[in-house]
């Protein structure tokens, strides 16, 4: 069984990460009834016996003594991390996993990436190395950060390139929170575009998530739960909808949105942790979904978001789940994948779903989804037998789809609006090591990426004939 390390950077990254650890503990508590430290738990947690003098890790198979998360928490101001350490999750982290500073990055990518990046380089590498050494077989780094701020985008992307340097064999999956148009940080377009270049070059896969989509989804859930119809009460124990049953008694403002992202991470790793009839490991995600190295932006969508408390009708609910995964209301960025071109699609199903249900739904949905000519039947499927808490089954769809192009184009437009006027530029250029050329290079990297997606889009309507090859003699 392999292990993964979660690196959470910045305020957003740490808040999402906090929800993730909470939900991970809940999920394992739900599944692991006997209190044994099994392989599934070891993928995210270490079992530590504090009485041992070397602070030693216990191996798989014994009773759970003390669980420590395989995580590194980085933030350039102390508020969020201190909040975590005073909250109920304090037992799960120890001080060697944290890196904080006092003053923050001031929403400035350059400060995060260059100033703090160089100042804390050694410390960050040491903490990562320690976390990696505790792992038997490290498979993947999960990096969580936002694109709009200073620490998350600047220092986060610096950490990403450090990971590539120090651990080239380990997969890097990045969950990046993209700002919406009405973001309250004025310089977020600068930060995002500068960070995008790093993501395109150094990440293996990126799961973009947009705040606006999360807000819409949360609103939809609360409309449902406040009784649109009588008798449609929602089940309260689902990990997606509520933090109920979680460690903290009150829900904080962004918790509902962060829950959704945390569920995304849980579901991606579910097939690697738990058994199923068709396993899908983390290295298979990049292998199957990334046809060309730079086009590694995978649009996630998660269903179901809530279950009704009454007894559900199995087959109809199941088919509805599959249809929902492709509707634009369930995507975690604002995009409509059905209108754009699919390069590849992965379906990760959890719970009591059999291969016949999967086949039936793929055949049903396939005609309405435009796939690229050289990957007409390009589906990657995984079946995991363990359902998430509060649901009987769930589906995570990861699509490599050209619908990210409009998102990126909008980002580029907001960037150019500011850049044309050189607004706020001096804050960046004042930082040691920052030059104007970095801005123009990032812009051209983003434009090149948009162009590549555009090329593929152009093939959408055209009928491509089969390539010439030797054929069977007739």
């Amino acid at each position: 069984m392999t292990q993964s390390v979660v690196v959470q950077v910045g305020q957003c990254g740490n808040q999402v990460g906090c929800r993730f650890w909470d939900l991970a503990l809940r999920e394992h508590a739900h599944v692991n009834k006997r209190g044994l430290y099994d392989e599934a738990l070891s993928s995210f947690f270490r079992n530590v016996d504090l009485r041992k003098s070397d602070g030693g890790d216990c191996c798989v198979g014994g009773r759970i003594q003390h669980l420590k998360a395989r995580a590194v928490l980085i933030d350039m101001e102390e508020g969020v991390v201190n909040g975590i350490l005073q909250g109920p999750l304090r037992e799960v982290f120890d001080s060697t996993q944290l890196l904080t500073d006092v003053s923050g990055s001031g929403n400035n990518w350059a400060v995060g990436h260059l100033t703090y990046g160089s100042a804390y380089r050694e410390a960050i590498v040491n903490k990562l190395r320690k976390a990696a050494e505790h792992c038997d077989c490290l498979q993947c780094f999960f990096l969580i950060h936002s694109m709009g701020g200073g620490t998350g985008s600047g220092l986060g992307t610096r950490v990403l390139s450090l990971l590539e340097e120090e651990f080239p064999d380990v997969c890097r999956i990045v969950t990046a929170m993209y700002p919406s148009a009405e973001d309250d940080v004025i310089t977020s377009p600068y930060n995002s575009v500068l960070a995008m270049r790093e993501l395109t070059e150094h990440a293996d896969c990126v799961l973009p998530v947009e705040n606006q989509s999360l807000v819409d989804i949360v609103n939809k859930i609360s409309v449902m739960s406040h009784g649109a119809k009588p008798g449609s009460a929602l089940r309260k124990d689902s990990t997606v909808t509520s933090g109920q049953g979680s460690l903290s008694p009150t829900e904080k403002p962004f918790d509902a949105m962060n829950n959704i992202v945390a569920n995304l991470l849980l579901n991606i790793t579910s097939s690697a942790r738990f058994e199923g009839s068709l396993n899908m490991d983390l290295n298979e995600i990049a292998m199957n979904l990334v046809p060309f190295p730079r086009l590694h932006y995978l649009v996630p969508s998660l269903t179901p978001l809530y279950t009704l408390a009454d007894v559900n009708i199995p087959t109809r609910r199941l088919d509805q789940m599959f249809s929902d995964a492709f509707s634009k209301d369930h995507q975690l960025i604002r995009a409509d994948p059905k209108r754009s071109l699919y390069l590849a699609c992965a379906l990760m199903v959890r719970g009591n779903v059999q291969v016949s249900d999967l086949r039936r739904n793929i055949e049903r949905l396939r005609p309405s989804l435009p796939f690229v000519s050289w990957n007409q039947e390009g589906w990657k499927t995984g079946l995991c037998s363990v359902p998430p808490v509060g649901h009987s089954h769930s589906l995570l769809a990861l699509a490599n789809n050209t619908c990210v192009k409009p998102t990126f184009m909008e980002l580029r437009d907001r960037f150019t609006k500011l850049y044309r006027k050189k607004a706020h530029l001096h804050h960046y250029l004042d930082v040691d090591g920052m030059e104007q050329s970095i801005f123009s290079e990032s812009l051209s990297s983003l434009s090149a990426l948009i162009d590549e997606y555009h090329q593929l889009d152009a093939t959408k309507a055209r009928l491509i004939p089969d390539a010439q090859r030797l054929s069977i003699a007739r």
Binding site: T2, E275, S356, G378, K380, D466
Partner: protein, 446 residues
């Protein structure tokens, strides 16, 4: 003669476990003793040394024991009475790059109570191959070559006489296809005079893995040089059998694997062959390969069996050889794998039509060679003339050579009469063509 199976990857391990399950239950159901013992010798080894320990049950032991045991029982808190029950361990080597599936298969086998996998005959790593054939073939295979060869060698040493190897794998993933190809190559190198019959599972046409076509094409190209014959099951065809023939509403991979295991066991269980002179054949793989793979360029074999029905319906059905064989022949010619929806219009082209070797001349499926295995009551009176018709074969092999017939008077897997047909025919051409076309299109893009 014993057969050693090598189960590779998730699919290989899951199908292999079902296969041994079917074989062990078939060999146990009050069958005739010779049949059972040949079957057991072929697939299992008996270990009466490490017998199971059973809890003492005073109702089952004879009285004398009870008296003695009661006395001892007064002293000890628990009392275990050692019973030596013969344990059947499968002649199998389990290989996978991650541990979950092997653990699952071994647990399921042990739970059946009739057989189990040997404790030490599995090999796994922590991290899978990532659906990458190159990773399996060039990196993981060579890295773990010694360990796997050691396991195979130990298993072979337990065999009195080795009949051959059956590597079982899928062609879509990374471990089964990549590591499986490498292991087949090693088997060829180390045991050059043994027969190697690969059992392959082809994925659904509508996709299980996006790079499945690359993995399949690379695997088949290499295996064609290395293996003696390739026996193929396609997920699509087996799925149709489950849904239309067995009428299962919700089909799981377990159901698919059971159908595959049933067909494979129908081929591999003991039978009387023309060469075996009145006893059960001691060389099943060799005779199968020599019957079917008559030309080194034609190695793809497919199987179909009749009848196939839900186990609940078997008791209410009657079987007759003429009906079964007539359906089976039409299934062969029309290239379907089930009795439902056979196209009776398809006929072999008339002899005067000349050599119009079109891919689908009226949907007719020409055969190179066929192996017909009949099991059950009244086998000796079954009329197999329909399979000797020259029109269904190619012209360069006389039909008397092209058809081989094996029989076994013992009913198989609860069916009073059953027939399995392994054929070297055009049946796999269409799926193969599709696979190559998709792989080429993906490769030729940009």
């Amino acid at each position: 003669m014993s057969v050693v199976t090598v189960q590779l990857g998730q699919c290989g391990n899951q199908v292999g476990q079902e296969l041994f399950d079917v074989i062990s239950s078939d060999a146990q159901d009050g069958q005739r003793k010779t049949y059972s013992s040949v079957s057991r010798e072929r697939f299992f080894r008996q270990t009466s040394q490490g017998g199971k320990k059973m809890r003492y049950n005073k109702n089952k032991a004879p009285r004398g024991f009870y008296y003695d045991c009661c006395y001892v029982g007064k002293v000890l808190k628990y009392f275990f009475f050692f019973l030596r029950v013969p344990d059947f361990e499968a002649r199998a080597v389990l290989v996978d790059m991650e541990p979950k599936v092997i653990n699952h298969s071994m647990n399921r086998a042990a739970k059946s109570g009739r057989w189990r996998y040997a404790e030490a005959s599995h090999f796994s790593q922590k991290q899978g191959s990532g659906n990458n054939w190159a990773n399996g073939f060039r990196v993981l295979g060579p890295r773990h070559r010694d360990a796997v060869e050691e396991l195979v060698r130990r298993e072979v040493e337990h065999c009195d006489v080795l009949a051959g190897f059956i590597p079982m794998m899928s062609v879509a993933g990374g471990t089964g296809s990549g590591v499986g190809t490498f292991v087949t190559q090693c088997l060829r190198d180390v045991y050059p005079s043994s027969f190697v019959l690969n059992h392959l599972t082809w994925p659904y046409g509508t996709g299980e893995v996006i790079v499945q076509n690359y993995n399949s094409v690379l695997t088949l190209a290499h295996l064609y040089q290395l293996s003696d014959a390739l026996l193929v099951h396609e997920n699509d065809a087996v799925h149709r059998i489950c849904s239309q023939q067995l009428n299962l509403k919700q089909i799981s991979f377990g159901d698919l694997n059971r159908v595959i295991a049933h067909q494979l066991a129908g081929v591999l269980q003991p039978a009387l062959t023309p060469d075996s002179c009145g006893a059960y054949s001691g060389n099943p793989l060799g005779e199968l390969v020599s019957a079917l793979a008559c030309h080194p360029e034609y190695k793809l074999l497919s199987a179909c069996s009749i009848p196939q029905m839900a186990s609940a319906s078997i008791a209410f059905s009657t079987f007759s050889w003429p009906a079964l064989l007539k359906h089976l022949r039409q299934m062969l010619i029309a290239n379907t794998k089930m009795e439902e929806g056979i196209d009776w219009q398809v006929r072999p082209p008339p002899a005067s039509a000349g050599r119009t070797s079109s891919l689908t001349a009226g949907g007719f499926n020409a055969s190179l060679a066929n192996l017909l295995i009949l099991r059950g009551k009244d086998v000796y009176s079954a009329e197999t003339g329909g399979f000797e018709d020259p029109a269904i074969y190619t012209s360069w092999l006389p039909p008397a050579e092209a058809l081989s017939l094996w029989k076994s008077p013992v009913p198989f897997d609860k069916y009073e009469k059953s027939a399995t047909l392994v054929s070297n025919s055009q049946a796999l051409l269409r799926p193969l063509d599709d696979m190559v076309r998709k792989a080429w299109n993906m490769f030729a893009s940009r």
